[in-house]
Symmetry: C2
Subunit: 193 residues, 2 copies
Amino acid sequence: MARQGLTHADIIGTAIEMIESEGLHSFSLRELAGRLHIKAASLYNHIRSSDELHTEIGYYAISELKKAQLAAIAGKERSEAIESLADAYYLFGKERPEIYKVILSLPMVKNDAIHSAGFDIVEPIMTAMAGYHLTREQMMHLQRVFRSIMHGFISQEEAGCFRQFPVDVVDSYQMAVRGFILLLENSEKEAQA
Amino acid sequence: MARQGLTHADIIGTAIEMIESEGLHSFSLRELAGRLHIKAASLYNHIRSSDELHTEIGYYAISELKKAQLAAIAGKERSEAIESLADAYYLFGKERPEIYKVILSLPMVKNDAIHSAGFDIVEPIMTAMAGYHLTREQMMHLQRVFRSIMHGFISQEEAGCFRQFPVDVVDSYQMAVRGFILLLENSEKEAQA
DNA sequence: CTTGACAAACTAACGGCGTTAGCATACAAT
DNA sequence: ATTGTATGCTAACGCCGTTAGTTTGTCAAG
């Protein structure tokens, strides 16, 4: 009724706040509507569907992650760049776990505008590896390996899968990053041969 | 009405079939009930809740994965054991993606009987690494690194995150495994020093 | 063979979800 | 002042998991 100036941006902004504070799995359109002092059906004047809203939040998350990563690697090279990149990734997953989960739930099947989002994810990694003497093909593979390590580590720690042993999780993380750097150096040698 | 001899095992068996063929996200108690020629409410004579059913299916999935892994590493050592272990893991995730997802959705928070499930996941990895001369602490870390790589790779490939470049995903996978083996060898050297 | 108990099915309902259709109203442009 | 559109509303549909209360089939004890 009261006709507030509800922007599309307001809505996804509020949704992001709610997901970050209350958790992704407890988020619903009805609660979002309530927070905006609106009925759920009225949301459909601003969004097309729940899926589309999720996708948009996913894009936001990816751009945030990319921003943090690019800032982290600025002016750095080789192992220092990789370590900073990994740290930024790790920190993002740890500090904003619910938003990070939204990225994962993005249905990559829809090849619409998601190609550019894919590029956003890849770009900082490629930049960080630029200091190594690698072939283009090696970089394409190594980029996947890096993402596997990072995503695997973050999501398993978040899920509580790393509680089995009394050893520091951060130490494990550093070992994982060291492993990737070893692989980088090894690949470099192969490229030169 | 017709009073069939519905076992608890029948029910989770049917649920597993449905999840494997129709997908995890489209699975519902009502559909499961329909497949069993039962009303949804009647399911509660056999299960306590949807969550409990999911958890049980998760246990099944973990035991299946463990079985495949132990068979894969039998009689093998060092890098050969690691490669076979990884292959078994990779194959499982690729051939039974929906069941694999159930493992991920297991709420590890509940420290009930899930500790033993955690052990089931870790055991084959520890066995496969036994041929390397590592300290117990190193193995605890390296086990996490291995799981990160494998899980990260499988879940991202499944999600369609690896379509960006025209390079073979299997080649990327092999590079990831090679990276882990490099880390193993490197850790071994450090342990001896 | 009857009876009684228990397991396993049923119906009905609740509150939640996303979503659609149709209606009312406030605001902006003519 | 009138009109059109954007944005709100209510009501409803069909899903979902879940609970309460009821009927009924089966099987063992009397």
